[in-house]
Subunit: 129 residues, 2 copies
DNA sequence: TTGCAAAACGCAACAATGTTGCAATAAATG
DNA sequence: CATTTATTGCAACATTGTTGCGTTTTGCAA
């Protein structure tokens, strides 16, 4: 793991994520790259891509885990993915939104590390139909 | 379902949730009421309690689903559970916090329905040790 | 180009969590 | 107490994620 490699599976998965306007789950990704690699490989590729800061995890409001491209990240630095996510109640898709400042005040006994904010509602394309 | 009943299983599950300072998952709840009812019954009781507004679901930052007592809800009215949740990175427990106003501005093309905000960090009791 | 170390893979087996169908049971109500 | 039907238990299935291990492939260097 110290020297990550570029494999067909990795490229295929990353390609699907990068070209999607919304976050994708492991089952969705496996469906899209089917024939390229095994089911287990998708899990392992996803873990590696997260470690390498190429993608990040998003937990949807129903608990399903999705993966999105790190558009605003450059290569190697790590950063907190504390930007907003929008979860559509109609098409169930979840997407990353612009980062916004959120003000929260908690008692001093709580040590804050990260904020996870997901907004549910109807996305632009579902609003049209 | 039009006329809900009070059963041993329902009371046992609700009791565990009501007396816990943090939210509990189905596996945790089943462990606590083991002997009282079947595994499947816990799932069904939880669904009913959510429908009846006695408890509400919380999705933790790792995607696990937990259930908490609706302290600030009265009996029959429905309301959005858009208060804050705090998720401890050490003990993994998630708890409800006071409701706070959160200001978010999105493009008009997004129709906002509900906000889900979870703060990760170290909880008071884990801060001591 | 060839050889090598280890990163990555496929496959099978397992684990955890959640769902469904149906016959049997039990809670509420009069 | 009898009736209605909400609720349960159980078995079977479905989905999602994990682990071990022998084999393949990648990156790099000789
Ligand atoms: Zn939509
Ligand atoms: Zn994101
Ligand atoms: Zn804690
Ligand atoms: Zn809550």
């Amino acid at each position: 793991m110290s020297n990550p490699r570029n494999t067909k599976a990795k490229q295929a998965v990353l390609n699907e994520i990068a070209n999607s306007s919304f976050a994708l789950s492991q089952p969705e990704l496996f469906e899209r790259v089917k024939g390229t690699c095994d089911r287990v490989t998708v899990y392992r590729v996803l873990d590696r891509l997260v470690t390498e800061n190429k993608i990040h995890k998003i937990v949807n409001i129903d608990g399903t885990i999705n993966y999105a491209h790190c558009a605003s990240c450059d290569e190697s630095h790590t950063h907190a993915h504390d930007h907003l996510h929008f979860s559509c109640v109609k098409c169930k898709k979840i997407e990353c939104l612009e980062e916004q400042l959120i003000h929260v005040k908690l008692p001093d006994t709580y040590q804050i590390k990260e904020l996870f904010l997901t907004i549910s509602g109807i996305c632009p394309s579902c609003s049209l139909s």
